[in-house]
Amino acid sequence: MTLVFQVLGFLAGGMALVRLLAQGAPRLTRYPLAGVGMVVALVGGVLFWGHIWQIGSGLPESTRTASLVSSFAAQHEADPGANNAFLEWARKEMLGVAGSRGTYYLEPAKVLADPLLSLWSTYELLPERETSKLSEAEWIVFYEAGPHLAIKQGRPLEKIFHYSSGYALALKSNAR
């Protein structure tokens, strides 16, 4: 109902404006609804001038505040809780060692249960592609797990790269 009244308000406002302007432009009185366009522009102008200062005046301060955040933190704002430094390191290692784009398997699987971390890690590790099958993977990314379990299970790992406790990267022996 409010919308109907708003529409009627614009129509009535337009007709009233035409009546007001009728002396200056008598031809307008033949088209009373022509004023609707003028009222729309008038309201648009008021809203524009009112809000442009409001938004614009806050921008320099907001820019200064945002500039204080480090580029690394800003680039990883989507999931600041993830071990972004490790993911960044793992991506560079995979690219550096293999020199081309391959596939990886994220271990342990419980990482995938956290939807944010699961998706964010696949974004951070681009251009490497995640696979859900260990047999297809060329790399294993150990996130809060460490490679000891994989070693204990006797998986064929060609090379292990340690980042920190619980975080490592392993090149499978079937890799390129």
Partner: protein, 510 residues
Amino acid sequence: MRAELGPIALIGGYCFAGLGVLASLRFIRLSIGSVVAALGLAFMVGVAVVLLSGIALLCVGAPVNIEVLGSLMALIGLGGFGFAWWQASWRRPSWARIRLWPLMQPIRQAVFVVRGADAEHRVAAGVLIVLSVFSVLTYRWARVQPLEAWDAWAIWARKGTLLLDYSHLPTAFFTSPVYAFMHQDYPLLLPLYEASWFRVIGSADTQSLHAWFWVLFVAFLWATAYVSSRVVRPAIWAPLVGLLAVTPEVWTQLMTMYADVPMGLYLMIGVLLLGLWITGQRRRDLVLSMVLLAAAASTKNEGVTAVVSTFAVALIVTLVAPAPGLARRRALVPLLAAIAAFAGMVAPWRLWLAVHHIKGDMPVARGFEPSFLLEHTGRIQPTVNALFSEVTAQSNWYYLLPMGLALVVAGLATPGLRRIAVFYGLATLGAFIMVLWGYVINPNGLGWLIATSASRTVVGPMLIAVAGTFHLAGALLTHAFQCSTPDPSRYPSGHATATQGVGVRLERSE
């Protein structure tokens, strides 16, 4: 150095390609004023044409790197200018002469215009100056913003980064079930737009990417002013352009870097040009409209549904009430040809999806089955309520809907404007119905769906209503005054010189 000069070169490249297209369609003439006025539209058209070509190349397995993008820009720009020159040399010898103005002449002219401007032009100049300062401030602000909105990195920037890393389409990512969350069927224009930015700045920097989205928005405001100034007086279009710039649902959503607003920007200018074609029957409006609508449909799937409903309305309007003096069949032929051209522009991506058996999560085919729809009727009412509550939240939309509706009502009550009022009214309604249909057939839970997307999915239909606001506000006034509005010098030929919608007096050249 690369971070500073790269973006300038990229913007220049897109503008060059767009100017070529505009010149070939005789939208612009070779004068500094004409070119500068059309730069916003040129950027949007350049992005559309270059990236649609890029998508077609990707779909046939070709790489799209910076060299290919640069070549496309050069080819399209030079081809367009060449075609314009060829046309001119055959039809208009004066067009072919490239005059070298004294450098100071345009500046003198500008000073003269400002001094001699009437109150109406001063209002427009004031709005544009304030908007320019606002644009610079926002650009500086945008380039340091972090990327945090979910879909922005999970879908769009991810695909942009993939296109940066691989150059060609990495099919494995688009076919792997592990990556189903990135909606593998979503169109590629926005990721390719992002990838072109990443390429010129040298990395997948998601902070500065915000500035790239802002560039598109500034170009859109510029293009809206340029296109609408043909039928709307400066005192009307200037405040409305300003209003669009500060409307929270438009500019704050744009900065989330989702695809809804970029799609809406293309949709709005495309629909406005289609509306101008309906009233003026200038074929170049129709051609340009198809390019921009193809860009909208290649940005987001909601763009496809909005464009399809707009085409249906345009066909109905053309069929039921053809332009004065035109037989139904003659009126329909160019529109049908244009729709076929549109289909050709969006086809490569759809064919690629079909070839690789990639499907979206929407049961589109079942969505036409009456039994399926009947089973889901319970979703209609909550969706309508949610969408209605979004578009009537005036703190978000600044009264754009009641403005548009009032103008449609005024247009319907004005005999000469009924066709165009019906077009915008039904196009807006049709786009809303398509959004509603999407919610009804969507397999996801309605509560979650509404909470996460209702504010975004209304952007397209709302911007169609805004296109109508621009056109109808101008047409109503022009109709009342019965006088010419456009600046004839802008258009070399074929420009509208009387009230749009009342029966445009055309100097037809097609």
